[in-house]
Symmetry: C2
Subunit: 246 residues, 2 copies
């Protein structure tokens, strides 16, 4: 067991898991010793595709990824966005074949951890297993909110909700500065995430802008009025579970 200082990538992973469960020194060392290779991916490139049987787990260092499914009719549904610190295919550790695809929405840096090494770690460290399990549980809460948005909220509410959610998650990993953050998703992609057409996203976004809730220029979102945006999106951050439980 080497005792070298963890790389920035390893450090980030350790911080992430420590936000989900208590880790001891051996856990941290085990994580620091994980073999990781880092890759840059272009916007639009898939990191993993529907049907794949992955042998590694991805970990977002920088950029924006998403998970999406395609319908028989050619429709596309984005089911989650993944920001730095996320493990978008954590579940591939348990699934045989991937039931969805993972793609980069912008140029991103992604670290890959071999399943075998991670699986060994999980077997030997109940704390790490617990952290990953909890991560899946929190993600379940996010899915429930997205379902509620797409199923029962108006276009305006959906848009405001997803922006509030992203703001909150970005803030938790230090990616928000002066009420501003990078969100390099196009209106088409936003539509695919919210169950709307890009045209309607456009008009709804204009509405939020003219109402003075935010600005969105290029890839930079600036929140102008948090309280009203939160209200407009029927947003309550509790489900993101940003504090360590138990």
């Amino acid at each position: 067991m080497s005792k070298t200082a963890p790389s920035p990538e390893h450090a980030r992973l350790i911080v992430k898991l420590e936000s989900l469960a208590r880790l001891d020194a051996a856990d941290r060392q085990g994580l620091a010793d994980l073999p990781i290779r880092t890759r840059s991916v272009e916007a639009g490139v898939d990191v993993a595709a529907h049907g794949d049987i992955p042998t590694e787990c991805a970990f977002v260092i920088d950029g924006l990824l998403c998970r999406y499914a395609l319908t028989g009719g050619g429709g596309r549904q984005i089911v989650s966005f993944h920001i730095p610190g996320d493990l978008p295919d954590r579940d591939s550790l348990h699934l045989t074949a991937l039931d969805h695809s993972i793609g980069a929405l912008s140029a991103s840096r992604v670290a890959f951890i071999p399943h075998a090494a991670l699986y060994r770690l999980v077997k030997n460290s109940p704390n790490i297993a617990l952290a990953l399990w909890r991560d899946a549980v929190v993600e379940g809460g996010v899915y429930r909110q997205w379902l509620t948005s797409i199923g029962r909220r108006t276009a305006r509410q959906r848009l405001a909700h997803v922006i509030c959610e992203t703001l909150t998650r970005m803030e938790a990993v230090g990616q928000v500065d002066n009420d501003q953050f990078h969100f390099p998703a196009t209106q088409l992609q936003l539509g695919d995430a919210l169950g709307l057409s890009s045209v309607h996203v456009n008009r709804t976004l204009q509405e939020l802008r003219t109402d003075g809730l935010l600005t969105w220029k290029g890839t930079v979102v600036t929140i102008l009025d948090r309280a009203r945006l939160r209200e407009a999106g029927d947003f309550d951050p509790g489900y993101l579970c940003l504090k360590v439980a138990k």
Copy 2:
């Protein structure tokens, strides 16, 4: 450690978890020794409510439960149905306050397992922890399908999809007989699950009936043409992970 034969409820729980991970004799005994109390709940009654801090996990013995969220505007979104063998608030083991409610759609029998006992078991048995973790992972796949349905599938596809899904899940726990199963959800509730109005569910259901895909009388669904129903719902059962992985 007592060595009495497990009750039917315990046996059901053991079967469920064995479908998710390999268990050894000690695991099975630990599960058999769990203190369980069983309760009957009327249709329409909540088993747990938004904001609660549960101290027990529910396990469906018989009947139909659902999880749902309410929007600020009074809308309701059902995010999952729970059939016998399901652990609808398995996640409450990790969440502090519940971000949704759990209600009975029909008269049901539900077993309750104290968190403390289950938590102790999970701490001591990596296999049981793994099984519950995997259960959460599979549920994530179901959420992704529901998101895809509500976001990008037509009303007809959504309805056919959820029926195919329920059929498949029911079959896996021996609740389908002669292509028939009990599904005691009203059209209003179905609408709340699919992001539709009850009126539209009604019309769409009539369409599926006149097309000869199924009949739905009272609470009994009869599948008349699986292949075409599957096609109509853009349904591929892979995501339900009904085989033990690894």
